[in-house]
Every structure is written in structure tokens, then in C-alpha cells.
Amino acid sequence: MRFMVLVPGNAESEAGEMPSTEILEEMTKYNEELVKAGVMLAGEGLHPTSKGAKVRFDRGTPTVIDGPFTEAKEIVAGYWVWECASRDEAIEWLKRAPFDGGTEIELRQIFEFEDFGAELTPELREAEERLRDQVAERE
């Protein structure tokens, strides 16, 4: 199973401040453990939202809103993609992450082909494929 682990931003990350050497060292050590266990597929930090943008869709017209975003709760500062045998294993790994101070890290399972399982019947799959083909033709 694949999981995305979302790390929220804070005032420091939004100000573009790099974490202290101590925190960086701990994080590097943790990342190494994840890699050596064959768990980490990807992991990236994100620039502050001042460098980002939002595009709002309403009544058929997209509107661009430049960063920074003020809703601190909605800000993502980094993410990992993990491959684990179970949700419990992912939680067990997350518990070992070097965070503190009330930080809440979000763990989400990534949809995979098999997850559609019985709901995606052969007929539905075929319909989906037909749709894909049509889209491809139009492009």
C-alpha cells in the first residue's frame, strides 16, 4: 500500500527559514532509516506559499490568487510517499518521526489500481478505457 504523509507548514517555514542543523540532522537520520527499510519512495519539501498560487474555479472562470496563503492550517510544507504492508506499519513508522510541539502529521492512503476492486467491474473499466481513448483522440 502506498501512503502520502503530509507535513504542515508553520511561521518559520512560511518565512522561508531553514530548520536548525539539529533538526535537519534528525530528519536526515530518519529519512535514512526509511530508505534503508525500503519504505520511502519519495519525499520533498515545499517552498513557502509566497512563491505559490491558488487557482479558484467558479462559474467556468478560473481566477488566480497569488500566495502567500493565510490559512495556516491548510499549508503543506512537505510530503513523503511511502510503501508499507499495512496502515499500521505506516503509523508505526510515522510515530518514529522527529516532530514535536503539537505538530500534527497527516497520513493518507494513496488510491491504487487494485483499490477500485469489485466496484470497477470489467464493463466499467472498459467504459473508462473507451473514455481515455476518446480523450486521446481529441488531443
Binding site: 530508505v35 534503508k36 527499510a37 525500503g38 499495512s86 503509523i91 478505457e129 481515455r132
Partner: protein
């Protein structure tokens, strides 16, 4: 009985910690069977205590300390039952080693233990089947029933294989070490072979009703990723990982809506797993950077890389693929590689050139009974418009094929060739 949240958490901890635990204990007690028993004992204690006490802050160290204590208790009990001088020397030795106070700390400080365990479970003194079972059990953290399900064999067979393998390792007194320079290349190739064998059984199941078994591919990938972390300067470790990541990237495009195989040319490339493609190409770059002469896994990964970069089968760099197969054929001398090379030659230089090569392989004893020989030949005959001959070859290939799904595909292709 449904497992409680704590049970499932313990299982997760076990999956994370068991390889390190067994490896650390093996270094101390010098016997992988004793080490695994001690680790299992610790797991039983955890299953009893953790539901009440909660999961300890450092579960790995807790398991190690508990395993050590159980080991000491067990040997003391035996020492009481017998007279101490009758305690065999081996057990006394284990007892002394277990009595070291700073065992948990010691184990934490030895990162190469897991690597030593890899070389032990893939040791040439064991049969191929035994290496696979023991590696999945001790390094993959798979249970006996899980291994049995994966390979479609009975639990009894797996259990027996593992017990025998551990006994063989003890009797042969296989040392717990990373092989020295002189034999490293050969021993490493045995390790890579075990991992790739597991992967292949998942990627193209040799038997059974399913064409692929993705869970086995994931187990092999995990082992490959672990090994790449343990031996970052070995080019072929990255080569094998690159090969597996690239092949696995196509897994979900490789099976049609009704479970039938979908061949490379017919795959919807939008369905490929592009995260794995990127990981595969990155591992390939590392392998190429580290090697002077490309090894067999890196060469195969480079071929897979040519396909991964192309927008379609036709657009792949076929002359380069032929050149890579030349290198691979020179290294392995394998007629299966020659057969693949013939396909590449066909794509680069036309079906006549390919067919000449395939016909040259027809009498190779190693390919007798190999269904892909008539299957490839049939393909070439179709391209040359010789459909009647092609149909016979497809039927011959179907007769030789043990996988139900693949056989259906071959028969349908025979039918497509007309009566």
C-alpha cells in the same frame, strides 16, 4: 477472530524490527535458528504484555532485551535440569554472550548485521528454494503461511524448508559475515538472484490462474531497496533495483480487465506507474555511474529504460537495445537472451533478420519445452504474412505454457491467424 488494534500494531512493529532483531541476535549467538527462536519468544511476550501495558517507546530495543532475557532463562533452565558440566560447550558459549549487559546498545551499533544476514540466507550451501524461503521469512518478515500462499505450496512444505535450511546453515557452520573481496562478486550475485527470482515469480507467474502476483513483486522490491541502502556502492545492486522498479512500473498496465495479459506493445502507457519509472531511471543512472563494465542486471535495466523513455514500442531506440542485448548475450551466453535479441533485431532491422536468428536457436536443448520460442517464431511469421505456419507455432506455444492466462492469449492469437 478479528485482530485488535494492538495486535495489528505489534504485527507492524514486527515487520519493521524482525530482520534487525534476528540479525543482531544471530551475531551474538552465532546460530540463526537459535536467534529466530529467541526473537519469536520475544514476540510472544509482546503479544501477551503490550495489549495491557501499551507499546513501549522503543519497541526494537524492548524486543531485543526480552529476547536476550528469554535466552538466558531458557539456557539456565536447561543448565539446572542437566548438570552444568554436561551443558554442551556451544550452549555455554551462547549463555556467556547473552549475559553481556549492554547487548541492546551493542546491537544498535552494528548496521551491517542485516547485510550479514542477507549473505547468510542466500548462502550457496542452501538450495535455491531454501534461500528464497529463508530470505522472505527472515528479511522480508513474511510468515510461513504468507510464503506458502505466495508460491502456491503448502505451509508444511515451507515450514520444513525453513527448518532444514537453518539446520544446514548450523551444520555447515556458515559464518555470520559479509564475504571478503575475493568472493564478494560471486556471493552478491547469489543474493541478487534470490531477490530477482521472487520478483519474477510475481511478475510472470510460472503457474496458477493469475498472470501476475503483485504482492511478490512488492516483497522483492522492498528487499532490493533495502539492499541498495546497505550496499550503495555496488553497481549491480542498483542495476537489479532499476530493473525491478522499471518492470514493476508496468504491472498495472500488464493485466487486462478480465485478468488477461497485455503485452508491451498493447499497453496503455498512461497506466504505467510513473513514480516507479522515475525511481527506476534514477537507480539505472546510479548503476551506470558506478560501473566500469555494465553487469547483467544493469544491462537488462538499460533495455527496460529504453522502453520506459519511449512513447511507443516502435519509437524505442531499437539499435541501442540490440547493442545492449549483444552485451548481455556475451556476458550470459543464455539462449533466452539470444531469443530476446532476435526480437530486438526484428524491431531494428526487420522480421527476416529476426527469423534467421530464431531458426538458429530451434535446436538449442536449453530452449526445448520453452513456450516463448514458438511464440516468438509465430510472431515473426505473422509479420511475414505466413499465417498458417504462425497458427501452428501459436498452438505449439500454448501446449508448452503452464500459465492459464498466458495460454488463453496464445490460443486466441492462434485463432486470429485463421483456420
Amino acid at each position: 477472530m478479528p485482530a485488535t488494534a494492538t495486535d495489528r500494531a505489534i504485527e507492524a512493529v514486527w515487520r519493521i524490527e524482525s530482520a534487525r532483531l534476528v540479525a543482531g541476535l544471530t551475531r551474538v549467538v552465532r546460530d540463526v535458528a537459535v536467534a529466530e527462536d529467541l526473537a519469536q519468544d520475544a514476540l510472544v511476550v509482546a503479544l501477551e504484555q503490550w495489549p495491557r501495558s501499551g507499546i513501549p517507546e522503543n519497541p526494537g530495543a524492548w524486543l531485543m532485551t526480552t529476547a536476550k532475557r528469554r535466552g538466558i532463562d531458557e539456557l539456565r533452565r536447561r543448565a539446572m535440569a542437566q548438570r552444568k558440566q554436561e551443558l554442551i560447550g556451544r550452549e555455554l558459549e551462547i549463555l556467556q554472550q547473552l549475559d553481556q549487559p549492554d547487548l541492546a546498545a551493542q546491537v544498535d551499533d552494528v548496521p551491517d548485521d542485516v547485510l550479514r544476514l542477507v549473505f547468510m540466507t542466500c548462502h550457496p550451501v542452501l538450495s535455491q528454494d531454501a534461500r528464497v524461503a529463508l530470505t522472505l521469512r527472515l528479511l522480508g518478515g513474511l510468515s510461513t503461511p504468507e510464503i506458502a500462499r505466495a508460491f502456491l505450496i503448502s505451509e508444511g512444505t515451507v515450514a520444513q524448508r525453513i527448518v532444514r535450511a537453518k539446520r544446514t546453515l548450523s551444520e555447515a557452520q556458515v559464518p555470520f559475515e559479509v564475504p571478503g573481496r575475493d568472493e564478494l562478486a560471486q556471493r552478491l550475485s547469489a543474493v541478487l538472484e534470490v531477490i530477482y527470482l521472487v520478483f519474477n515469480e510475481g511478475y510472470a507467474a510460472t503457474a496458477g490462474e493469475h498472470w501476475t502476483r503483485p504482492a511478490l513483486c512488492r516483497d522483492a522490491l522492498r528487499l532490493g531497496r533495502i539492499l541498495a541502502g546497505l550496499m550503495p556502492s555496488e553497481p549491480e545492486v542498483h542495476g537489479l533495483l532499476a530493473l525491478m522498479e522499471l518492470q514493476a512500473s508496468r504491472l498495472r498496465a500488464r493485466v487486462g480487465p478480465n485478468g488477461e495479459p497485455v503485452l508491451l506493445g498493447d499497453q496503455d502507457r498512461a497506466r504505467w506507474d510513473h513514480l516507479l519509472v522515475q525511481r527506476g531511471l534514477a537507480a539505472l543512472r546510479r548503476a551506470e555511474r558506478l560501473s566500469r563494465a555494465l553487469g547483467p542486471y544493469t544491462l537488462q535495466a538499460a533495455i527496460a529504460g529504453c522502453h520506459a523513455r519511449a512513447a511507443s514500442v516502435e519509437e524505442a531506440d531499437w539499435p541501442r537495445i540490440v547493442a545492449l542485448y549483444d552485451g548481455l548475450a556475451a556476458l550470459t551466453g543464455s539462449p533466452v537472451v539470444e531469443l530476446n535479441r532476435a526480437v530486438a533485431v526484428t524491431m531494428a532491422f526487420g522480421p527476416e533478420a529476426g527469423l534467421a536468428l530464431v531458426d538458429g536457436l530451434a535446436d538449442d536443448p536449453a530452449l526445448r519445452g520453452y513456450h516463448l520460442l514458438p511464440s516468438v517464431r509465430a510472431d515473426l511469421l505473422v509479420r511475414l504474412g505466413r499465417t498458417a505456419e504462425a497458427r501452428d507455432e501459436f498452438v505449439r506455444a500454448a501446449d508448452l505454457c503452464a500459465n492459464d492466462r498466458e495460454r488463453e492469449l496464445l490460443l486466441s492469437r492462434a485463432v486470429a491467424c485463421g483456420a
